[in-house]
Amino acid sequence: MSTVGWITARGLFGRRRFLMLVPLPLLLVGLAVLCRALGVAPGEWGPAVLVGLGLAVVLPVVALVVGTGVLGAEIEDGTVVHILTKPLPRWQIVLPKLAVATGVSAATVAVPLFAAGTLADSVRLGLALAAASALGALAYSALFLALSLLTRRPVLLGLVYVLIWEGLLGRFADGTRVLSVQQWVIALADRMAPTDLLGTSVSVPVAAVLTALVAVGFTVLAIDRLRSFSVAGETS
């Protein structure tokens, strides 16, 4: 199992695309530091930076790039065959990849969110944001990993989800908020460190249950789809 994880991690870090992820956390921390230094009231810049940039943009985008990269890239260039022609139960392939994706996403997002949250309010908020975003990273990673197996263009569909479902509709239609990972993360963080900076209409128990459901459900789906993975001809 660790071999799968090792190959996955090597594959992620070995590609240049990973550098694309670096500016996002830096921007987050940079803005937080700037606002704090200029003495702007946290109540004003908190929601924009923590939620508007951090949870609404940095978390989903990082999770998307990493989550589709751990399996989707291998499927696209055909190297997944090497991992599949081994007597490994398919969950021993999916779980390490999920762990790598979650770990990398969480590290990339939680650290700057912790810094920004601490600067905005308190260490408690920073920790709450870090923890909630880690859980969000898990849910997102499971979702995008499953998407990589369900469709040939997982990044595009993931973008549709993040931009249109969570972004556009989530702003205008309250009903869709219940089914948005972003809102669950906000609810969980708010529960751990209640603050005016975070607010959502989704209740905490619902958020917790749905996060767990998405994380587990999509992982199971991914495992099942991997069992029936088909390669037809030379152009897949």
């Binding site: 071999t3 799968v4 090792w6 190959i7 090597r10 594959g11 070995g14 590609r15 260039d77 055909g78 190297t79 065959v81 090497h82 991992i83 599949l84 022609t85 081994k86 007597p87 490994l88 139960p89 398919r90 069992r227 029936s228 993975f229 088909s230 390669v231 037809a232 001809g233 030379e234 897949s236």
Partner: protein, 317 residues
């Protein structure tokens, strides 16, 4: 002359049989594989067919990467679909040359060995790499390799767990003649050691050199199986063609035309070309004829027993 530095070990487990029973695979209205039944035992078999005949589809079904729409594909009685344990005895070298470019050959084969949960992965990896003669380049990244080297690396990764059954899809693609000879020798030895090897190709000389046993696929159907010379003799609706040199070609030609087993005679500058409908009758009649007319036959060669002619007859049929 190439020398193989390492010998493949004889398998310690009994030989495996790959069994296909009435296997069909269709995509909507397109039938890619049409009711194919075959049994593959120890030795090397060539899967032959023009492009688009369904060879890759069949190979992927055997390797558990595609489920048959009808029929069963089984290895020693176990289905290959949705059964990862079958890979303990199966190795696949696919046609796509995709391989993790950021790993070195050694790391790649070692990872393969570890994923197979071998007791001593490092030794197995080194052995496999020696087998394909990649020992000098094994510590360079695969991204820097030539096509043939990448191919050999993938073969090493497929052989690292000493599989009973090895499936190769167009393995000689991109190999230079020396590498091809080496690979062919390797496959021969593996086959002689009792493993079941199936490789697909549309280059007939390769198949002729590596194996006499072929499975010919045309348009999704299995057109012929077995030794190709025997297949040729079974094709009675095609006349056999012989090239004959003799002391008096014209007289022999006249005499042969009277023979009932002969369907056509062509007199050329280099000799006679005779079409015979009945192989056995002709070969018995020729010596008697020549003796009666006092003609000495200097050379008698069957012209169309090569795999190429067998293949072209099957494809045209």
């Amino acid at each position: 002359m190439t020398t193989i530095s390492a010998q493949p070990a004889a398998p310690t487990t009994p030989a495996s049989t790959l069994d296909l029973a009435g296997v069909s695979r269709w995509y909507g209205n397109v039938v890619a594989v049409n009711d194919v039944s075959m049994r593959l035992g120890p030795g090397v078999t060539g899967l032959l067919g023009p492009n688009g005949a369904g060879k890759t589809t069949l190979l992927h079904m055997m390797a558990g990467f595609l489920s048959p729409s009808r029929g069963t594909v089984s290895l020693d009685g176990e289905p290959t679909w949705r059964n990862p344990q079958v890979y303990r005895r199966l190795g696949l070298v696919s046609e796509r040359e995709a391989v993790h470019a950021f790993l070195t050959a050694y790391e790649f084969v070692l990872a393969s060995a570890k994923l197979h949960q071998l007791p001593d992965p490092a030794a197995a990896a080194r052995r496999a790499i020696d087998l394909v003669e990649m020992a000098d380049a094994q510590d360079r990244r695969i991204g820097t390799y030539s096509k043939g080297m990448r191919q050999r690396t993938r073969v090493a990764a497929a052989l690292v767990h000493d599989p009973q059954v090895l499936l190769l899809d167009e393995p000689f693609n991109g190999m230079d003649p020396r590498q091809r000879l080496h690979m062919m020798t390797l496959l021969h030895r593996l086959g002689d050691a009792g493993r079941t090897i199936l490789f697909s190709s549309h280059i007939l000389e390769e198949v002729e050199q590596v194996s006499g046993t072929v499975q010919v696929m045309v348009a999704g159907r299995l057109a012929a199986s077995g030794d190709f010379r025997t297949i040729r003799r079974l094709m009675t609706n095609r006349p056999h063609v012989f090239a004959i040199h003799s002391t008096d070609d014209r007289a022999l030609a006249v005499a042969l035309m009277a023979e009932p087993s002969v369907t056509g005679v062509e007199l050329g500058r280099t000799g006679l070309s005779v079409k015979a409908g009945d192989y056995g009758a002709f070969t018995r009649a020729l010596p008697k004829l020549a003796l009666r007319h006092g003609i000495r036959v200097r050379q008698l060669l069957p012209e169309d027993e090569s795999l190429e002619s067998v293949f072209s007859y099957l494809v045209e049929a």
